[in-house]
């Protein structure tokens, strides 16, 4: 039942009545290498600092307009060794790709190459100011230009907007371009159609941009219901937002037909590119009739997720939407120099819908993504998609005999395999399986998403895993799944072995405590 363990060691400790391992209680609360760490505000002091600076000279003249901050700010400091230890101890309570398999569906947790980190830290990229004279930052502008060129080449699209800060910001960019395009021809449309399997950011983005959102149902095969979508098209529909490959892990094989119908009805097609890793180097979305698609550089192009960002979400655009791209963007002059088109370039900016962010986008992510793309090249990126899809199908076919895989009969999956909780014993849930996997040393898959599947478990292995690592995961996943099928009550208390047991999330929301008091 346990995953293979080459050392041959198997835990024989007993689960005590308290629900945790037996063994002596320690004075510190630590358990060997599992170290508890107090809050910064419990160990830091107001008069301690880890940076050597000149003491404040209270008699020095100031020109602060009489607005000196005289009351205590309430901050505390640590010396450097204490700081390093505080955060090193905290880091050990985290799971990351560097530690193990992280099959979080739709999140593409692939290896983050360290060459990317090294390149992003070159002073020529890291230590330059966004408003430096453009003649002094030609190399930086060229990085943005080169990356944009590769993104256009890989997607088969003519233009790209580089400034969006993350996936959801990229969605916003695409939807604003669509609105601007409609407005430019005096066509006020109010509705954006979004399949019910979409990421939550899709409807939130459309609403944030002032649209009314309407759901499009899914077919029993897990794809967009084309007939329902076509029936809803009309003069009030500005466009559709469709994820392809979709969140059920399937390729929308009727995408071209959908796009043609939307275009015929005067709308535009937004493709959520969150799952581009499945098709990068294999399929060009531009050949499918896409008008706008964001690319999460922190997914497909391996920039680190960092515990919740920063991301980066460039948006490729069709000929129809390109003129409306946000400011600033980069052009190359006749003598080969690169320059930014900003608010002042009145002729060149054309009907751009305006600025989405200060400065030019996530440069630190651009250098990493370009390094990744150049490392892989055309052949390597194609292999990335193939291995990601192969790994996912291997997991799907290794689990479908014991878990319900609602769309397994629809054919191969793309880069992620989807399962439901429909054959679990009464009282056992997807959450229990996720927490059981934590005890086995894995980060759980995405759970309860997409919403179209009951108790969804969405497994995305990516191309990063070896066959041995995947076989080991399958053994662990089967072990936990069997416990859920058999009604193992102990699973409902999992995890047992993580730095914390299940949290009281209801209490956190009922009486929010969002800052240290004291």
């Amino acid at each position: 039942m346990n995953a293979p363990n080459k050392s041959g060691w198997k835990p024989e400790m007993q689960v005590a009545e308290s629900g945790f391992l037996g063994g002596p209680v320690t004075t510190t609360g630590n358990r060997g290498l599992m170290l508890e760490e107090p809050l910064l505000f419990e160990i830091g002091r107001a008069d301690v600092t880890g940076v050597d600076l000149p003491e404040v000279d209270a008699s020095a003249p100031t020109r602060l307009g009489g607005l000196e901050r005289s009351d205590a700010i309430g901050l505390v400091g640590l010396t450097e060794p204490e700081t390093v230890r505080h955060y090193t101890r905290l880091s050990r309570q985290n799971y990351g790709i560097d530690l193990g398999f992280f099959p979080l569906g739709s999140c593409t947790m692939k290896h983050n190459p360290r060459l990317n980190e090294k390149m992003a830290r070159l002073p020529g990229f890291a230590d330059i100011h966004p408003l430096a004279p453009q003649s002094s930052v030609q190399g930086a502008l060229e990085v943005i230009h080169q990356l944009g060129h590769w993104l256009c080449t890989l997607t088969g699209m003519p233009a790209v907007a580089m400034s969006p800060k993350a996936g959801a910001h990229g969605e916003l960019c695409g939807i604003l371009a669509i609105r601007a395009a409609h407005e430019a021809r005096g066509d006020a449309r109010e509705v954006v159609l979004v399949p019910e399997s979409a990421h939550g950011t899709n409807p939130a983005t459309a609403a944030f941009a002032g649209y009314r959102v309407e759901d499009i149902p899914a077919t029993p095969e897990g794809r967009v219901d084309v007939a329902a979508l076509k029936a809803r098209l009309g003069p009030d529909v500005a466009g559709v937002m469709i994820t392809n490959p979709n969140t059920c892990g399937l390729f929308e094989k009727d995408f071209r037909e959908i796009a043609d119908a939307v275009h015929a009805a005067g709308g535009y097609v937004y493709c959520d590119g969150a799952n581009f890793n499945a098709i990068v180097g294999k399929v060009r979305p531009g050949d499918l009739g896409v008008d706008a698609m964001h690319i999460n550089l922190h997914k497909t192009f391996s920039t680190p997720h960092g515990g919740g960002g920063p991301g980066s979400g460039p948006v490729v655009l069709s000929e129809a939407l390109a003129p409306f791209a946000p400011l600033p963007f980069i052009r190359q002059g006749e003598s080969g120099e690169f320059y930014l088109v900003e608010e002042e370039n009145r002729e060149e900016r054309g009907p751009s819908f305006g600025r989405m962010t200060a400065f030019h986008g996530q440069m630190g992510m651009f250098t990493r993504a370009l390094t990744y793309i150049l490392s892989h090249g055309a052949d390597g990126l194609k292999q990335v998609a193939e291995d990601a899809v192969l790994n996912a199908n291997y997991i799907l076919r290794s689990m479908e005999d014991i878990l319900d895989a609602p769309f397994a009969g629809s054919g191969p999956c793309m880069h992620e395999a989807l399962f439901s909780d429909s054959n679990f014993a009464a009282g056992l849930s997807t959450l229990d399986v996720a927490k059981g996997l934590i005890d086995e040393g894995y980060h759980p898959m995405t759970v309860y998403f997409p919403l179209v599947v009951h108790g969804a478990m969405l497994v995305e292995p990516t191309e990063t895993e070896s066959k041995a690592a995947i076989d080991q995961f399958i053994a662990a996943f089967r072990g936990v799944a069997e416990r859920a099928l058999a009604g193992d009550e102990a699973l409902k208390q999992a995890p047992y072995y993580s730095p914390r047991r299940r949290l009281d999330e209801a209490a956190a929301a009922r009486k929010p405590k969002l800052a240290y008091e004291g």
Binding site: L90, P130, H305, S312, E463, A508
Partner: protein, 457 residues
């Protein structure tokens, strides 16, 4: 390929298990018209680490590195010394390669760090609650306006003329689509921020008034009269801060009555990075507004054994639960930059932040005095922190800046670049000074500026 562990034998074995004969059997759902028959054209093939490094280094070498020349640029992005341990900590794989902490049992490192970060930001801003970060200061500024419209159920925002023009542009771009009305203005070239006119623009329809502190020209003024005027009309005061180090020296916006305080956190820990990734800070003074806040919030709770633990909370505000009714569409934020900020702030502490702020101000005063002696140059500001405006006596600042760059000095940001086409602002130059600036740098700027002015017609 060094990043791909599967061997050809593995691939064959796995295809056999799946029941497929070739990899393309797994792509059957892709319509034929969209299938590529080989590696995509127009891209080179894979390359070694050494070859890629060579390519990237050649590009990096084309840029003039800020740390290698006298450097005085600010206007929303400041060059500070980042202690060496900051980068070491953010490169720990457990932080670098983690996801948003959706599984709190194995993400306490990120969650506790965020709880500490939120506390630091709230205290720095003089507020009750801060969120776990947004993309950057400019997008945080729009989120504040959007939140104010939700809280007040009004649709008009008044922007100070001295708000960073990029921030104002972002707000106007978004408001165009949401149907909100934005009343903006150009900065007035005065020694102190012009508050009477701003107060006069607040009316009963106003959701919020947005003020930058210190403002785009580096000026600082007491915000309490604006807070009072806004509150008298039922509007909120949104204060934007682009230089968090300033708040180690001058009063916190929350203390002066700001309702929402947002800003750019890049100064601490993050670095210049040509404009991104940066760090959006967002806080509210009154805890009753928490449920209208955008973005992630980390809260304290306990686990099944009664141990203190942290978790993302109040997520019913967010897109993955509320979908089209969410307070914002934001998902990924700026977690690793928040870590860099909080580590740097922990190293500084109250004592270090105050010393850092005092050192910035001391050097800025030195620079202002020295530059005021350059013939034809005047310092506009009465009060400032580490950035001030120089009037160049009718000389075009953009040309002077380019000339200075040719002389190996990155001398500041011209208002002509920030406000293209506005004649009244063409002769003004923003100069920022931090602890990284040396007295020799200041002398060099003064000398070269004098020469550049002489040579410019």
């Amino acid at each position: 390929m060094r990043y791909l562990p599967l061997t050809d034998t593995d691939r064959q074995d796995m295809l056999a298990k799946i029941g497929a004969s070739t990899i393309d059997d797994l792509f059957v759902d892709v319509p034929e018209v969209a299938r590529l028959d080989g590696p995509i054209r127009g891209l080179p093939m894979h390359a070694s680490e050494m070859a890629v490094e060579r390519h990237m280094k050649a590009l990096a070498a084309k840029n003039l590195v800020a740390g290698e020349v006298p450097f005085f640029l600010g206007a929303g992005a400041y060059r500070h010394h980042v202690p060496a341990s900051v980068d070491t900590i953010i490169q720990r794989g457990e932080f670098l390669t983690a996801y948003t902490p959706y599984q709190p049992e194995i993400a306490q490192g990120t969650l506790q760090m965020l709880f500490e970060f939120q506390t630091q930001v709230a205290r720095l801003y003089g507020c009750a609650v801060a969120n776990a970060s947004l993309y950057d200061g400019s997008t945080a500024c729009w989120e504040a306006v959007a939140m104010a419209t939700r809280v007040t159920k009004r649709k008009r925002a008044v922007l100070s003329g001295a708000l960073h023009p990029h921030y104002a542009q972002v707000v106007k771009t978004m408001a165009h689509f949401t149907g909100d009305t934005i009343a903006d203005a150009l900065p007035s070239i005065t020694s102190d921020p012009e508050l009477t006119g701003l107060i006069g623009r607040i009316d009963e329809e106003t959701a919020c008034v947005v003020v930058q502190y210190p403002d785009i020209l580096g000026r600082i003024a007491d915000l309490a009269p604006i807070a009072e005027a806004a509150h008298a009309k039922g509007a909120l005061l949104v204060v934007v801060n682009t230089e968090p180090v300033a708040l180690g020296a001058i009063k916190a916006p929350g203390e002066m009555g700001a309702d929402i305080v947002v800003g750019e956190g890049q100064s601490l820990g993050v670095g210049l990075q040509f404009g991104g990734p940066y760090l959006g800070l967002f806080a509210v003074r009154d805890p009753k507004h928490v449920r209208q806040m955008p973005g992630r919030l980390c809260g304290e709770t306990t686990d099944a054994e009664g141990k203190r633990a942290f978790v993302l909370t109040l997520s019913t505000r967010e897109q993955h639960i509320r979908r089209e009714k969410a307070t914002s569409n934001i998902c990924t934020n700026s977690g690793l930059c928040a870590l860099a900020f909080t580590v740097h702030m922990t190293l500084l502490g109250e004592k270090g932040l105050r010393e850092l702020a005092a050192e910035n101000h001391r050097l800025a005063c030195l620079a202002a005095d020295r530059l005021a002696k350059v013939p034809g140059v005047e310092v506009l500001n009465n009060a400032f922190f580490n950035e001030f405006t120089l009037m160049l006596g009718g000389k075009p600042a953009r040309e002077i800046i380019r000339d200075l760059a040719d002389r190996g000095v990155l001398g500041g940001v011209s208002l002509g670049r920030l406000y293209p086409g506005v004649e009244a602002l063409e002769h003004a130059l923003l100069v920022a000074v931090t602890e990284t600036t040396t007295e020799e740098d200041i002398e060099r700027l003064a000398t070269e500026l004098e020469a550049a002015i002489k040579e410019t017609v």
